[in-house]
Symmetry: C2
């Protein structure tokens, strides 16, 4: 039981100043800002912007080279080259996965993400090694961040014998989500992949998250099938489609009927808001009621050296991608990096009385300014300051 303390003079999402009482790590009262002098135990919010934490909805912690010496990208030109190069790089790197993934996870926390979904490779060659490492990582940081896993068949599922069994084993170990990728483009047997993925998720009562890179009409057809399966298996609000570039390549008249079904079934879309290819039309999808959230995807790995795990920067990149300028639009970009991620991941979010006192403080006026300026932020977990100025207060590496 920790001492009750007031968080004073904060502006929730830019609203007029309020005070929030924190007891035992949770919000227990909310009032208009009091003019009483600050007590020694109070947190002085200094009229900063208060927001819920950021949510990293899609990252590959197991592949990262974060915190390691700079390593020029050495992959050949084809997808096959990239996959074999990754194998070679991860074999050569001396640092264990716990150190690399831990360094990136600490950085994500320091930048304000307190919920994170990590895709974890399984493969008949190295089995469940990455899954086990990520589960250990989750335990080590359980008090700081909610880490949710997706078992991810990077090298194929139906087309790669031995993978299906490993996915089932991962479920038995407690992984929260069944992953898939390009049921057409990678597996060449879309119905077999979707059958397996949805049956497994249904059997274990878990979520589904499918990487869908397939383009244009081929992609859209698969989205319609994922919608069918979600409906048939009753997995409302538990399915995510990641990337879904195809939705940005086709006319809205063709996308809209599918978008309406996505909204009705609570199927979320995840985008990293890339600038080099089509992306789902954010504002139109939002208008149609589809929950679009943001993720970093790979960060400093053998695929690309880019990325830094800052979800506020990711919100800026989304705004940059669609030339968002109005405050209301910039706030929507912020939500994509925060609230929408929480929705997609099925976790609670916000400042309701009784909620854990997880929050960010930023020295800016509005969510719009937060997205544009990406200021250093103070990160609180259960009412305790855990990071400031981009640094976690007490590394566990």
């Amino acid at each position: 039981m920790s001492h009750p303390r007031w968080l004073r003079n904060i502006r929730p999402y830019g609203a007029p100043a309020e005070d929030l009482l924190i007891e035992n790590g949770r919000f227990t009262q909310r009032r208009q800002a009091s003019s009483a002098p600050l007590a020694a135990t109070d947190i002085d919010g200094q009229h900063q912007l208060l927001t819920a934490p950021l949510v990293e909805s899609h990252v590959h912690l197991d592949k990262t080279l974060y915190g390691q010496p700079w390593r020029p990208n050495s992959a050949g030109p084809t997808l096959k080259d990239y996959i074999s190069n990754e194998r070679r790089v991860l074999r050569e790197v001396q640092a264990p996965i716990a150190e690399r993934a831990g360094a990136l996870l600490e950085n994500c926390i320091a930048r304000g993400s307190l919920t994170l979904r990590c895709h974890v490779d399984i493969d008949p060659e190295f089995g469940l090694r990455h899954v086990e490492a990520m589960q250990q990582l989750r335990e080590r940081y359980r008090d700081l961040i909610d880490l949710q896993l997706v078992v991810f068949p990077q090298t194929g599922l139906i087309s790669r014998p031995g993978t299906a069994g490993l996915m089932r084993e991962a479920m038995a170990l407690g992984v929260e989500n069944v992953g898939g990728l390009d049921p057409c483009g990678i597996d060449n047997d879309p119905i077999a992949q979707l059958d397996f993925v949805f049956k497994l998720a249904s059997e274990f009562q878990r979520g589904v998250d499918i990487h869908l890179h397939d383009k244009g009409e081929l992609g859209l057809w698969q989205i319609a099938r994922i919608v069918d399966y979600t409906e048939r298996f009753g997995l409302h609000n538990r399915v995510m489609i990641s990337h879904a570039y195809c939705l940005g390549m086709l006319p809205w008249s063709q996308v809209r009927p599918v978008a309406e079904r996505l909204a009705a079934l609570g199927i979320s879309l995840m985008s990293s808001a890339p600038a080099d290819c089509a992306v789902p039309p954010f504002l139109a999808l939002r208008e149609a009621g589809v929950n679009v959230c943001l993720g970093s995807d790979g960060i400093r790995d053998a695929w690309s050296p880019m990325g830094n795990g800052d979800m506020l920067e990711r919100a800026m990149l989304l705004a940059f991608r669609f030339d968002l300028a109005k405050d209301e639009e910039l706030a929507a970009a912020f939500d994509a990096a925060s609230l929408n991620g929480a929705r997609a991941l099925g976790v609670e979010h916000g400042f309701d009385i009784g909620r854990p006192a997880d929050f960010l403080l930023m020295p800016v006026e509005t969510l719009g300014e937060a997205v544009v300026a990406r200021p250093p932020r103070e990160v609180y977990r259960g009412g305790e300051l855990i990071a400031s100025g981009g640094r976690l207060l007490g590394s566990r590496l």
Copy 2:
């Protein structure tokens, strides 16, 4: 005359450690890194990356609201709405142009840009007021940054009576470049605009910089005409085309012949590397010998609240735009934000003996890591530290 001092243990562009002697603000010797103990007057480079400064090749200092309280964008949906909204906003803002533009200029310096090209609006309504303010700004910061001006007919040239005379007056005041915009799309009389612009530039022996937003075939045709005029007036290496989205909208087979002429005449292209529209194909143009540089365009103004004046971030955005991953490609993105800008603006660049000791120090391994990580940098001008950790040491506001 300042005391000679050695800059010790720096890695120029990632090369093995060297020492550079600075005398009277200039480089006068270069040697392999010495193992001798540091003298009191030495600058300890600590094996950091040494680069030439960044170059901001296109910014509108006169329109910025930088350093002012956050102001939500209030423009209506059309281009006309944006132009009238800007007029209104700039009338309402209390802070004088010197304060707003100065705040942004100081920020650009603090982030490592020591050469900057500023487009300055003229208009029959407010005459040369912005030009005069920018000339005063240039004087005030002359010891810190090389500020180059372009007189910019934002509301039209041929189509806006009174503008041509103001442009001539601006030249007489010493503005370095004649600006233009969309000879087709804005003026509806391309040959009349180009005739005026090139004759004026030729008469005063100045450069040319034309905003070209016109798309597709219409844009490409105008680029071909700008090439014709450059050739006819002998303005080799003194012409820039800004934006040039059209080059990213057409097949390379159609673009290449024009690109080869751009390269032959030393006509540069400026891009802000936007993510929401087509951009000139950076790697193909580079391969064809075309000098492509980077600029921020508007920063926190009535058009858009986005931007922060960090040219290293702009290099990242270029890399992000084209999914650059190899070190050689990331170094090309760095060059676009540095060397290529210097080439386009006709200024000296680099560490040759006799050059002013203007440079950046960054705690990273390579140019690639600099682009990805965008670390805080130490900024030196004439051998003196003028900015560190993103802050100018001694504001003049």
